[in-house]
């Protein structure tokens, strides 16, 4: 299992979702992806993308002016 960090700050949706999609394409089941964003929409869209692709959102929360999301890769997309 590996852990990766993705800095998607300053990107407007859907760019954070696209970056998450690209990052997860390189990961395997069980890996964790930690994502930092500044577009508040990411709090909604990244989990939505995870749901349609079957990944598990471990945590998604606003932190100060940022949004932090942790995803567990469930299956390869």
């Amino acid at each position: 299992m590996s852990e990766q960090h993705l800095d998607a700050r300053r990107l407007l949706c859907p760019m954070p979702v696209i970056r998450v999609q690209d990052a997860i394409a390189k990961l395997v089941a069980g890996d964790l992806l930690h994502v930092s964003c500044t577009d508040p929409g990411a709090l909604h869209d990244v989990p939505a993308w995870c749901r349609v692709h079957g990944h598990r959102v471990v945590m998604a929360e606003p932190r100060d002016d940022e949004v932090y999301i942790c995803i567990e890769v469930v299956k390869q997309t």
């Binding site: 300053r10 407007l12 949706c13 859907p14 760019m15 979702v17 696209i18 999609q21 500044t38 577009d39 508040p40 929409g41 909604h44 869209d45 939505a48 993308w49 749901r51 349609v52 692709h53 002016d65 997309t77």
Partner: protein
């Protein structure tokens, strides 16, 4: 056992692509969605930059549609490639800077490439004959099939009965009789079909799927190109055209004035890339300078910027101009009066 056929559906986030996808899913086809991000797409989140619009749902409609339908959605970013479509559209522009026919051909081509790479069988879109003046006409819909390379692997389920038979129909992958004959600009049949499927919350963008159909946005884009040495752009350029008031008091510089707090926060992310102004004596918006300022321009930029802050009626306002090297200069200026800002400065 018959082969499970697979279709890739171009999902814009609007009602038509949602319906066409559902129609094909109901025929037992495995459908996945593809959403093409050109950089110009209308996103709830871009509006969400502006605080006053925050009541509106901050959702990505394409993802939302995928979730309602229970399908996967692949979002493809094409910002670089799309430049060729926007800068040199073979079929020209629509009413504004929207190259709809070339754009649709390009999007279907991306879907076609994806289809081939992933072993899918055909492509579906929510297009309806006669619905859009440029890309959805009886004579232009075949152009999209031809120029995208998809040919008769492109099926438009909502309008199929008005169009020649496609391969998925001919081969019996889908039943033609169970497809539709929608045409024209009326939305009634779509709304009825939505009700039949139990869809009661969907997005129906009035203009189109992107900012290029918007006059004010197109004007800003044309202005940007007119004042640069080339008609090129980066993602930051096209994002900044969506935000703030844009004023061009001189040909060699433009000011981007945040309209409220949300926009100021967004523009703050660009402070290192742009000379910028902020009032130090009164509260006011962050202002970015796109272009070069000479000494006279600095005063003018400060006076204009002061106009948009709380000090607009004060005798003097202190403005701070920060250059790209981080050095700041403070100026005491008299804010311009509203009637001193000619209307044609507003881009």
């Amino acid at each position: 056992m018959s082969t499970q056929r697979k279709a890739i559906s171009l999902i814009s986030g609007g009602l038509d692509s949602m319906l066409s996808t559902r129609v094909i899913m109901d025929q037992g086809i495995h459908v996945e969605g593809i959403n093409i991000f050109t950089g110009f797409c209308v996103e709830g989140h871009t509006h969400a930059i502006r605080k006053k619009d925050r009541q509106k749902p901050k959702r990505n409609n394409a993802l939302w549609v995928a979730e309602q339908l229970g399908i996967k959605l692949h979002i493809i970013e094409v910002i670089e490639e799309y430049k060729q479509v926007l800068l040199n559209p073979g079929h020209g522009y629509g009413q504004n800077m929207n190259p709809c026919l070339d754009c649709k051909g390009f999007m279907v081509r991306k879907a076609y490439e994806w289809m081939q790479e992933h072993g899918f069988d055909f492509i579906i879109t929510g297009e309806v004959v006669g619905q859009r003046p440029m890309s959805q006409r009886r004579d232009t819909m075949p152009v999209i099939q031809r120029e995208s390379g998809a040919g008769d692997l492109l099926l438009r389920p909502l309008s199929a009965l008005n169009l020649p038979e496609t391969r998925p129909e001919r081969e019996g992958w889908v039943q033609r009789e169970a497809l539709y004959d929608f045409s024209g600009r009326t939305r009634k049949p779509q709304i009825e079909l939505a009700a039949k499927f139990g869809f009661d919350d969907y997005s129906q963008p009035a203009g189109g799927c992107c900012f290029l159909t918007d006059k004010s946005y197109s004007d800003k884009l044309v202005d940007m190109w007119a004042h640069r040495s080339s008609r090129d752009y980066e993602l930051d350029d096209i994002m900044l055209l969506k935000v703030g008031r844009h004023l061009r008091p001189r040909p060699h510089f433009k000011l981007i004035v945040a309209r409220e707090e949300g926009e100021t926060r967004f523009l703050e992310g660009y402070r290192k890339q742009f000379v910028h102004l902020l009032s130090t004596s009164h509260s006011g918006p962050l202002v970015l300078v796109d272009g070069e300022l000479n000494e006279d321009d600095r005063l003018l930029a400060a006076q204009i910027s002061a106009r948009f802050g709380q000090g607009r009626d004060a005798a003097e306002v202190e403005m701070e101009i920060t250059d790209l090297d981080g050095r700041a200069q403070r100026l005491m200026v008299e804010p311009l009066r509203a009637d001193e800002i000619p209307q044609d400065w507003y881009v």
